[in-house]
Symmetry: C2
């Protein structure tokens, strides 16, 4: 899709209307006329990431992005005012395992060109969360009305990327088999503080047989920009997890007798750390509703 | 050292004599006159592997090679008659984790040029073992008098190489700290049979803390030609180990409460498999007394 057709779509989005929207939804949630949308999509059929973002932008996609544009990198979103952004950037730099940065915007600029064609962070995620003083106040389908000139967007790598690599390596993932959200735990593993940001690491857990654990370490080590290798294997009590069947986030899953829990640094860590200091204003993606980028997971492999 | 000085040393070795040798030791165990030996060594001081082999060749080195020529690859030796060698080669090809081949000689040729300057397998290991019908019958300091035109030498990678990489990565090794031989266990992990060779995998064990286990998998994965990544982590009963404190070979070592046993395929596997079929004739290195090659451990890294 060329620049002129992008502009055309944007104009259509800005003028469209739909009476079925929930109260408070903005103009930009609205569906494009089907024929226009399909014509635009067919013009760039190989860019599944852009297709996915257009579906968010025109209101066709409003839920989870798991399985959307398989092979494309998906990212967590954290939007903070500029006065907090430099501390947060430093926090991510000091804690790359839980906070692997894929892109940081210019202040006030909603575009993230390094992540793909025409990425506009105000519209391109299916659903968002708005926090004021650390309290969730809204879950809108776009953040155009929230946008400010001092906002900085951070897109962080997420586990979907390394999970694709694990599945392609033939390693079964229990939370996918059991159709649950991956279990996550607050640990006693300290992050390295930066300015106002500090707090414990949150980890996700996937149970595996020992031979698969070896392979999983190899496979995920190749992807440092999407959490990389596990931070812990077995022995959950050593990282402060009292009951493996009671995750702090997500859902409990089955661990068989011939398996051990394997723990990866989790992208919930930066959210948890940011919320703990109750920022006056903060935007994130809604859980599971991620930014689908044009980057391929394979392009992130370090070797 | 050039070819002419090598020939000179060989001639000296063949004519030297020493009244302190044990009964049955061959001519080639004998010490070179010190001045000649030292002059030869000083002429090639950067080749520590060659120095080590000369010390074996001239009888100065007769024990373990642990710590000798640090950074150089050391290898296990298996010498078999040609009629068994092709099956053994196939066995190694099918079981690369326990049997990583570094070099195979031409039948009857004692030289292994791919492993370094002037490597002569008859003299260059400090001590050997001679087996007849599967029974240990001698532990000579060279195998010149045993040599036959139908013998094929196999040099297989050993754990010294990946242990160097682990130590350089800051991972402590308990058996080194406790000055014991690494504990080894027969497992229920089947090898893939080839001809007359079959039997279970033998593994070595190193206890580590979980974070170190992740790093150890990464570090050793880079060295597939010296056993590579672990084959198992934790849960020894799953691979048929009844009592971790009673190894089948080597010595028991301490496992702390915050550690798990990590298991690597062990070079004792091919020896164990070969002895189990009681070959009419077979030569190996004596335990811990390895072939020091000119290859560097770092040169074996796969990436």
């Amino acid at each position: 899709m060329d620049a002129s057709s992008v502009s055309y779509l944007r104009i259509l989005m800005d003028v469209a209307s739909d009476s079925h929207l929930p109260e408070g939804a903005s103009m930009n949630d609205l569906s494009l006329p089907k024929a226009v949308s399909q014509a635009a999509l067919s013009a760039q059929t190989i860019n599944l990431g852009h297709q996915a973002r257009l579906r968010s932008r025109n209101g066709e996609a409003r839920g989870h992005t798991a399985g959307v544009a398989p092979g494309n990198v998906q990212g967590n979103l954290m939007v903070l005012p500029k006065d907090l952004a430099s501390d947060f950037l430093l926090f991510c730099q000091r804690n790359p395992r839980p906070c692997p940065i894929l892109a940081v915007s210019e202040p006030g600029n909603p575009m993230l060109p390094s992540l793909g064609e025409d990425v506009d962070i105000r519209y391109d995620i299916p659903r968002y969360r708005v926090y004021k003083d650390g309290v969730l106040v809204d879950e809108p389908y776009d953040i155009a009305s929230q946008w400010r000139d001092d906002l900085v967007s951070f897109v962080l790598g997420c586990s979907f990327s390394f999970e694709q690599a694990l599945v392609e390596a033939g390693i079964p993932l229990r939370h996918i088999e059991e159709q649950r959200t991956v279990p996550m735990y607050r640990t006693n593993i300290a992050t390295t503080p930066a300015g106002v940001f500090h707090g414990p690491m949150v980890v996700s857990m996937r149970p595996m047989r020992p031979a698969d654990i070896v392979r999983a370490v190899q496979v995920t080590s190749r992807f440092p920009s999407v959490h990389g290798a596990p931070v812990h294997i077995g022995m959950p009590h050593l990282i402060g997890i009292q009951d493996i069947n009671k995750p702090d986030f997500g859902e409990s899953i089955t661990i068989h007798d011939d398996e051990m829990p394997v723990f990866w640094a989790c992208g919930v860590t930066p959210q948890s750390v940011a919320m703990a200091m109750k920022p006056a204003f903060c935007l994130t993606h809604a859980p599971g509703s991620m930014l689908v980028t044009d980057l391929t997971n394979n392009s992130l492999a370090s070797f």
